[in-house]
Amino acid sequence: MSRASALLALVGLLAGARAARGQACCAGATAFAPARLAIHEDALVGVMVRAQGMYGSFHGNHFAGSPPGDDEADFEQDLIAAVRLWGRLQLAATLPLVETWRRAGGLSEGGGGLGDAQFAARYDFTLAGGSRKIPGIAALAGVTVPSGKASSDAGSPLATDATGTGAFQAAGGLALEQAFGAFLVNLTGGITWRAPVRVGNLDTQQGLLWSLFAALAYTITDDLVVALTAAYTAELDARVDGVTQADSGRSWTRLAVAVGWAFHDDWRLQATVYSDLPVAYLGRNMDVGGGATLMVVRTW
């Protein structure tokens, strides 16, 4: 997953939504936004682990499976913390460790290190479930600090020691959320800007990235929530020395099933299985993969 989409994912983690038949309004914090503080929570610390395999890529708008002999597996361990500053404003930070194993062209290697640190803020103007007429409305913002190693600085032949984008990033977004009985619907839109990066003698800048995230969560029991999520992310063409690079833009569509279990007032578990969709025109110029995450969260 690119750092930009990781930033949007963190913003998304804050974007999402506990239910009697648990309160559906809080299902997001349990199922699809585990780094988000629920209404009576002041702080949290979580650890998320991710494993992902890549099985193909989009060349232009068309998907092709990975060539025989080419493989990639990505692993990530995130330390996540969030705190409520006052009232409805909360901040979150993620510090990732990233590892990559890659095999291509007869070579294979592994590498990793500290990834790009991400910081996100969320302000809830209104809360889902508090009104039948007005949904939960939240403003989201985030920044990514290039604490990882960019691929342009990678030293290994297959660049498995690359752990970040090398660019500062800033993101903004808006989340809408409403509860309908045991169901919760979330729609989140976001835009990410990436700062120019000097690579060799060239100034390069990735295009503006925008994303749309949708989630439908269902509260099964007081403590157990399941959610189906979909995210479409697209990036405009990159620029090199001020010149737009035609057809360099990228996009991808990811579906996920998430399960959240708030097994204690102060603890919750969340697991996700996801895949990028290898469907023509639902992706562009991107590697395609699937994986799983597991997160444990302690709240106060």
């Binding site: 506990r18 239910a19 009697a20 038949r21 648990g22 309160q23 309004c25 809080c26 209404i39 009576h40 009232g87 409805r88 103007f125 209104t126 809360l127 479930g129 508090g130 009104s131 039948r132 007429k133 007005i134 409305i137 509860a179 007081d222 403590d223 708030a262 097994f263 204690h264 007032d265």
Partner: protein
């Protein structure tokens, strides 16, 4: 349109009105509700509990509230529940009262007037009123949410015991940890 925009504006500004920020004039507020004015003199202290039928925290605290009410009723404590959610109605609330074995009434408040007046945002939010309508305690039933623990601090019980013994509550205000009232 105004009916839609006015609550939106208030919500965006985070203004709940009512007594949420402090008992500016609790007696005046209490006098707005004839049912309450009528009920207050019947007990030394009245627990006004904002009820949410769909709230896990509410369900988890039913037994604790039943025990507390039963224990302190002989010492002059009564409970009145108020359902200020949009789905409130006499038939539904009477069915909930019977199903949960409450020995106290649930007042139906579908327009949320009681919640607005007393600054209630969450289910299980309680106020302890004296016979004049003055608020003596506001906040949660205890420090648990949906999963009950033996180590919970019994905020409401501590307040009521202190009051019936003629002392001030150890904590006059705490946080209610229930679900958002759906208005």
């Amino acid at each position: 349109m105004v009916r839609l925009l006015a609550p939106l504006a208030l919500a965006l500004l985070g203004c709940g009105g009512g007594l949420g920020a402090g008992a500016r004039d609790a007696r005046t507020v209490a006098r707005r509700f004839p049912a309450l004015v009528e009920a207050l003199p019947r007990a030394r202290f009245t627990v006004l509990e904002f009820f949410s039928s769909r709230c896990t925290c509410q369900k988890a605290h039913d037994e604790r509230l039943r025990r507390l009410a039963s224990e302190l009723a002989p010492r002059g404590v009564q409970v009145i529940a108020v359902d200020s959610e949009a789905t409130a109605g006499p038939a539904k609330d009477e069915a909930e009262r019977a199903r949960r074995g409450y020995a106290w009434p649930i007042v139906s408040d579908p327009r949320g007037e009681w919640a607005d007046a007393f600054g209630a945002e969450f289910g299980t939010f309680v106020l302890v009123l004296d016979p004049t309508g003055a608020v003596r305690y506001r906040g949660g039933i205890d420090s648990d949410r949906a999963h009950l623990s033996d180590g919970a601090t019994p905020w409401l019980r501590d307040a009521l015991v202190a009051l019936v013994e003629g002392r001030e509550p150890p904590l006059g205000e705490t946080r209610a940890l229930g679900c958002l009232l759906e208005r």
